[in-house]
């Protein structure tokens, strides 16, 4: 187990380094966008003086270098700063009351996104693994082909298109689920679940193909090995061969692909959240990019990057744990 611990520590350190690089890239990229917060918020009122005044108030007239390290210094201490929009609103009124920090702004949105990801995972992971196993069992059958065609076409369609198709069939023609996912704090769990169902189904359609195809391929790959042949010769039923003998050895690649797709559920929800008006982090991200609200954009990107790194790390560890050869290296 010491070995595993060492790997975790190594990967965490590398992950931190990656985050640092990501933060530099994001900071530079956002600053390279034409226009800035002052221009975005003022619209028609963006005269030279008012732009300069807002830039001065927010410290946007400082050099890129200074701003980056000021921000980084705050983040290291757990302070993600104040969103420009909120700081500017306070500035309008000349008081400091009611300024919300980036962390306060993101926390409820992030919780909502996690909820949606959890609902989707609960549906998508069992469905796609089951479909993958069945497809491997009845490979090249009509069932196998139909599943492949369906999942591949759903992953190939743009998310907003899937979303509108589901809205048409499940909200307009047959009003089963609401097309508006405006969940809020204090909503009953059942209602929250009902409202999140359509976005969760769209995300399920998007991630199923990847997981299902990987499960199918990993199992079929193993079916050619001698020990499976042995099991068959013993007269075990095909289902049992797959579930008892092939699946445990196929776990590593399956876990990897599941982890990757879970990360996608957190970072790839932007379009789905906008279409369904789901108050998650993706919607906040879009609004903040439009406003060039750099502190919020930075924090969102860091969360996305951290989600990827952590889930990849989890995937690696899980595949080590699921493989005795890696667990007990010679």
């Amino acid at each position: 187990m010491d070995n595993v611990l060492k790997i975790i520590m190594q990967r965490l350190a590398l992950g931190l380094l990656t985050l640092l690089v990501v933060s530099v890239v994001i900071f530079v990229a956002v600053n390279m966008l034409p226009g800035d917060f002052a221009q975005a918020i003022l619209g028609q009122g963006a005269t030279a003086e008012s732009v300069a005044a807002i830039r001065r108030d927010l410290g946007l007239d400082q050099s890129l270098f200074t701003r980056y390290f000021d921000w980084l210094g705050g983040v290291v201490q757990g302070d993600f700063g104040t969103s420009f929009a909120s700081a500017n609103a306070a500035n309008f009124s000349g008081t400091n009351s009611g300024v919300t920090t980036v962390a306060q702004q993101i926390a409820p949105r992030f919780a909502n996104t996690m909820f949606l990801a959890a609902v989707t995972a609960v549906i998508a992971v069992p469905v796609s693994i089951t479909l993958g196993i069945l497809a491997a069992l009845y490979r090249n059958s009509l069932f196998d082909r139909a599943t492949n065609i369906f999942t591949l076409s759903s992953i190939s369609s743009p998310e907003f298109f899937l979303a509108y198709v589901l809205i048409l069939f499940l909200a307009v023609v047959n009003p089963i689920f609401p097309s508006l996912s405006n969940i809020y704090e204090g909503m009953a769990f059942s209602e929250r679940l009902n409202k999140s169902m359509l976005p969760a189904l769209v995300l399920t359609l998007v991630v199923t193909a990847h997981m299902m195809r990987m499960t199918r391929a990993a199992i079929i790959n193993l079916l050619a090995s001698p020990y499976i042949e042995m099991a068959r010769l013993k007269g075990i039923s095909p289902m049992r061969v797959i579930v008892k003998h092939a699946l445990p050895n196929a776990l590593a690649p399956i876990i990897n692909v599941v982890a990757l797709n879970l990360a996608y559920l957190i970072t790839g929800v932007v379009v789905v959240e906008v279409v369904f008006v789901y108050p998650g982090i993706g919607q906040l991200f879009v609004d903040s990019v439009k406003l060039r609200d750099i502190p919020v954009v930075q924090a969102c990107c860091l969360i996305f990057a951290a989600a990827y790194i952590l889930l990849n790390l989890t995937a690696d560890i899980m595949s080590i744990l699921s493989n005795p050869r890696l667990r007990h290296p010679k």
């Binding site: 034409p34 028609q44 929009a85 909120s86 009351s97 809205i167 307009v172 508006l180």
Partner: protein, 513 residues
Amino acid sequence: MNGISRRGLLKTGAAAGVLGLTGMPLRAQTRGGKLTVGLNGANTSDNWDGRTHADMFMIGAAMGAVFDCLTENGADGSLKGELAESWEASPDAKVWTFNLRQGVTFHNGKSFGADDVIESLQLHVAEGSKSGAQPIVSAITEMKKITEHQVQFTLASGNADFPYLMSDYHLLIYPAGQIDEAIANGIGTGLYAVAAFDPGVRFVGKRVENHYKGDSAGFFDEIEYIAINDNTARMNALLTGQVDAINRIDFKSEALLKANPAVRIQEVTGNQHYTFPMHTDTAPFNDVNVRQALKYGLNRQEMVDKILLGHGQVGNDSPIGPANQYYNADMEQLAYDPDKAKFHLQQAGLDSLTVDLSASNAAFEGAVDAAQLFQASAAASGININVVQEPADGYWSNVWLKKPFCACYWSGRATEDWMFSSAYEAGVPWNDTKWDNARFQELLLTARAELDSDKRREQYGEMQQILSTEGGALVPMFANYVQAVNNRIASPDTIGNLWQMDNCRMAERWSVA
């Protein structure tokens, strides 16, 4: 009650903009039920501070439901008292006395009086405040509490429109001494008290019992505004019945809404207009003949048909729209006439003219297409318009007011003086045509302090005529406010056209059918 002050100052109906609809609501409105509305223009930084309000969501929630102003604009364009019962002006329109309504209480139980008015207005001129209503309040040199329910304002110079300006959506009245708390929690005197507010997500209001507006307004028990910034999502929400009404219909999908029998479309022409301002101090636009050549080279009707898909009205190169009191409807309509354009070009001593027109869809949706239509229609008269497509980002700081000929939009203003002094008074920062005309300037100052309504109508009429024939702004079209409502909800026959959604007052004026 109606607060029409002496000499019939405000006795001018301006319902002209309401398309084909006149008269007041006839059917009885019933109390009860819930109104759910999907609105755009919401932000995570939204709050109850009127100084920061600029978009539909918060204007509708604050001015339209939770808070009141001193005066309000009726759906027919008349001015009514809200927290003020009546008002009087000195003959030079410099000193205004407002009689406040008695027996009004805030949602927290505090009773309303003169101190609340004075303290709330002072917020807009507080040190460091960048309120949108700062110019209105800074024109007041003295605010005096005469009795508990009477306030006197002294202005730096006479302004006959002062009561109109008090209806501005920034000028919300907060409880004196508790303003920080009122801004944090949304405590006003409006028909609905805040039940839930999640910035950028939703607002829920509950009807206040025993409200001073009585049974004549505020018919719902509960209202819910849901922030839906995405156009398609807003339409879906209406079609699937999750909201009862939405603002800002996408013209391209309007036909789909029309095909749905459960939904009706409300459309009014207000003051929102799209313009092509020319710098009248820069060659070649400093020559009035060049400006007139361009005026006749512009096919306004084609732009209304193709850019607004018919949802608008042709403009006449004046920024005063049908929602204004002194809208001059008698002016001769400028029309596309290549021969006249050619004639004016010759008058300017030119055979042909080549100008750059800067445009971007940041100016208004379809601005680049509009510029290209202009290019095509002007070409017939030997005018070569070179359309320069500018980046949307930074358009308002790099192009508008800087390039001598560009595309622009104005949401319009409630009064003529307000509009003219924002963009057409000599020397003001947003004068995007560098307009400086002696007669126009003289009329502007006289009309501002004139209390006689007939005289003002004449003066403002002449000013609109000057702009139409000589002015530097081409105003090809006024864009309609288009919104959709489920038939479950009844609305009065006359819909306000000053702002979208019945002047943002749907919570007050609509009811369950």
